[in-house]
């Protein structure tokens, strides 16, 4: 819910169209650009990909070429006006190609639109828009999305929109009433999202000006993308442009770590053995308060060295549909955890779920570089320590209250005490 006292400050991107944002690294220069140009020069050529999943898998893409050359048009299923799309690039020459949004096949898992920025007629950067059925992902695919799109770089869009944005990634959940196809009564439509991706999800460094512009451009574009897709699907209602989001989420938002209040959470301590230079900084989802409700549905905290933040990520997912996706990350072979909820642990990843006021909530502890012993069975017997398993019980106990789950106690395998 949004309050009537929420600020409605608008992004001022329109004032600086010549000054656009994301410095996406050159991703696939050379040949693709020339191919694309040849396709464009003939205009109106449509090559429709029938089985996108297979095509994506083999790395072969068939794109439907754009409209007439020279005519400025809205990109990516008619959703992004030239000024909104160009704000995503530092280049002025932006071209796009898209797979059809509605496809003849039943499998509507995933469709994409590629926007490319050209400088000197060479491909320099690329932003990919996609529409995907997140609710059907599981295992590594579900984790890959969770890892990229729910990091502490991501700022909730607020204003009643379920979605987040950073200068590199953005997503918006389509409303539960809006689908590509109709569903039978009683059938539960899976969660469907639109996303934008530009370069690496977690780049080593982004300068603050670029991050600010990138965040503004991505947050506006992803909401317009959601509106465009809703329009194509014939759904009613459009989201307003997001307000200027707090952030940028890089640089200054990284804070020195309080060992006794990990991620600002009372009662969550960094164990003595894990303390040190390597674990001295933290960044928490912008726009959220450690002692407040999980307003945007997601709260993440990355902890580690000041710039890399590479030790551990703790995430609370209070949105039930997203929590469902997260809960399907670990398969049957993961080690089960006990307690009031359900959980499992494998490698450096621990995921715990509980029933809460909004439905299911998920709690994630992810050690980014777990000390990988050869004999994994040893990790519970004291061979090596898992920071994730050590911190999880106190993290879940604290965050479960904010997620509206009440008292949730986690039982982990016995851990070494020092």
């Amino acid at each position: 819910m949004t309050g009537e006292d929420d600020p409605k400050e608008k992004s001022d991107m329109n004032d600086n169209p010549e000054d656009p944002g994301t410095p996406a690294p050159p991703s696939a220069p050379g040949a693709p650009g020339r191919l694309r140009r040849m396709a464009r020069s003939r205009g109106g050529i449509a090559v429709v990909g029938a089985l996108v999943g297979a095509l994506l898998g083999t790395g072969v893409m068939s794109w439907r070429a754009g409209d007439l050359p020279f005519a400025a048009r809205d990109m990516c299923w008619g959703s992004l006006s030239p000024d909104v799309a160009e704000a995503l690039f530092t280049d002025t020459d932006v071209r796009s190609d898209e797979l059809p949004l509605r496809r003849a096949t039943e499998d509507s898992m995933h469709t994409e639109c590629s926007m490319q920025g050209f400088g000197d007629d060479e491909l320099e950067s690329e932003v990919t828009a996609s529409v995907r059925t997140l609710g059907e992902l599981r295992g590594a695919q579900a984790w890959d999305w969770t890892r990229q799109y729910l990091s502490s770089r991501m700022t909730p869009l607020g204003d009643g929109i379920t979605g987040m944005a950073s200068s590199q990634r953005a997503w918006v959940a389509l409303p539960t009433s809006c689908h590509e196809r109709s569903y039978e009564p009683g059938e539960k439509p899976p969660l469907r999202v639109v996303t934008l991706a530009s370069g690496a999800s977690d780049p080593d460094s982004v300068n603050e000006v670029d991050a600010r512009r990138g965040l503004d451009a991505m947050s506006r574009a992803v909401v317009r993308l959601a509106n465009g897709v809703m329009d194509e699907y014939g759904c009613e209602g459009r989201y307003p442009d997001p307000p200027k989001l707090p952030g940028p989420p890089e640089g200054k938002s990284v804070k020195a770590l309080d060992n006794d209040r990990l991620c600002g959470l009372r009662g969550v301590e960094l164990p003595g053995w894990a303390r040190g230079e390597d674990v001295s900084a933290a960044r928490t989802t912008p726009g959220t308060e450690a002692d407040g409700p999980v307003t945007g549905g997601v709260r993440s905290c990355d902890v580690g060295r000041p710039f890399a933040l590479d030790r551990i990520r703790l995430t609370t997912v209070a949105d039930p549909k997203l929590a469902g996706v997260v809960s399907r990350v670990l398969g049957e072979r993961a080690d089960r955890l006990g307690g009031d909820g359900k959980g499992a642990h494998a490698g450096g990843l621990t995921i715990y779920t509980a029933d809460c006021q909004r439905g299911r909530a998920a709690f994630v502890a992810w050690e980014k570089n777990p000390a990988d012993d050869a004999d994994d069975a040893d990790d519970t017997a004291g061979g090596r320590r898992s920071l994730g398993l050590t911190v999880l019980p106190s993290y879940v106990k604290t965050e479960a209250k904010r997620a509206g789950c009440g008292e949730v106690n986690v039982k982990v395998p016995s851990l070494p005490t020092t």
Partner: protein, 374 residues
């Protein structure tokens, strides 16, 4: 599980004048209903060509007055459309009694003056949790068969707000979506504001997608009711079910029904926590103590030992608890109403369940507990 009969109690504003059928204003003009709020062919299916309609207005939406409009609709030429029931107190047939008539019921007016049963029954209908909060920050809820909107302050009479409700009655709702219900609700609200002379501000509009309302859930004994930790019931007989609405930062609501073996609802309950100022006004005095409905008057006492804020908990026949306390800088209402069988099934007791439920919400919102901690 319709709560229709209860509604009838809430309707009456004395001396309402009957009749005024919808009239064509010109030979080719589309017909319109309910003081002109709903025009034929304006979008919702019930106003389309598939149905015949007959409407009756009683009262007119003036400030402080209760006005009701009933639109009976059905397939043209059928028996029920030959003698359509457009009376404000029309009875909707229960399940198993046949299709019966289908009606849209529009109401404009203040909540009932009564501070006990009638008000609680009205609240149970107006903020029923089978409806989800309206988007764009509007103070109201909408579901596939109902909608409620509190009009802006300039439409108040004294301290009492004017509320617009739409209800689809019949064995099934013919409103196709939450959006259709929202459209009917907003056009009724616009008409009501014009009629009441308080249409000075901008008309309410919905641009964002309308949320999908929650479905019915069952709450076996081992699970907390309404998904609210602390809301526990152990009924000796019957099954507990209900609707748990979006647990948002500004509105959290849940409607409970205790159903006996015969499928009849034996007892109802409602839990609401809200900090939306217009919705807060609906609760003034709802715990049955004071005829004044100023938000402050009548609730100037402490609800009891260990409670924060002001309010009253009444537990003689069932339970009614109403407490107003600040949470994250906002005056927030916590309300629990349990019919007697539910109050007796509350575990460990009805007062404890109220305190624990309220505390579950404050815990989620990150503000100090409102009820006594055990």
């Amino acid at each position: 599980m319709l709560l229709v009969l209860v509604l009838a109690l809430a309707v009456l504003g004395g001396g309402a004048t009957l009749a005024t059928w919808a009239t064509r204003s010109g030979p080719f003009a589309d017909e319109s209903y309910c003081w002109g709020a709903w025009t034929e062919g304006s979008g919702p299916r019930v106003l389309g060509d598939d149905f015949a309609r007959a409407a009756e207005e009683s009262g007119s939406p003036e400030r402080g007055e209760q006005a009701t409009c009933v639109v009976a609709f059905g397939v043209p030429g059928t028996e029920e459309m030959k003698s359509p029931d457009t009376s404000a107190h029309g009875r909707t047939p229960r399940a198993g009694e046949g299709a019966g008539g289908h009606r849209l019921v529009a109401r404009v007016g203040p909540p009932p003056r009564s501070t006990d049963r009638a008000r609680q029954a009205w609240l149970a209908e107006a903020l029923h949790s089978s409806a989800a909060p309206l988007p764009d920050g509007l103070p109201g809820v909408v579901g596939p068969g109902r909608g409620t909107l509190v009009l802006p302050e300039e439409c108040d009479s004294g301290d009492v707000p004017t509320v617009v409700t739409v209800r689809s009655e019949g064995d099934v709702s013919y409103l196709d979506s939450e959006r259709e219900a929202a459209e009917l609700l907003l056009s009724l609200a616009e008409t009501a504001r014009r009629e009441a002379g308080c249409a000075t501000g901008k008309p309410e509009r919905i641009t964002a997608p309308v949320r999908t309302a929650p479905g019915e859930e069952t709450y076996p004994e081992e699970r907390p009711a309404c998904r609210v930790p602390g809301m526990r019931f152990a009924p000796r007989r019957g099954g507990l079910g209900g609707y748990a609405s979006t647990a948002g930062d500004r509105l959290h609501s849940c409607s409970l029904e205790l159903t006996g073996k015969d499928g009849e609802v034996d007892a109802r309950g409602q839990f609401v926590a809200t900090s939306l100022p217009r919705l807060v006004t609906l609760f003034a005095g709802a715990a049955g103590e004071d005829s004044s409905r100023s938000p402050d008057a009548g609730s100037s006492r402490s609800p009891g030992a260990g409670w924060r804020g002001k309010g009253r908990i009444e537990g003689r026949d069932g339970l009614v608890g109403l407490v107003t306390a600040e949470c994250r800088g906002r005056p927030t209402v916590f309300f629990l109403h349990l019919d007697d069988p539910l109050a007796r099934a509350a575990a460990p007791g009805a007062r404890e369940v109220f305190a624990r439920s309220a505390n579950s919400v404050t815990e989620r919102l990150g503000c100090p507990a409102v009820g006594p901690r055990e």
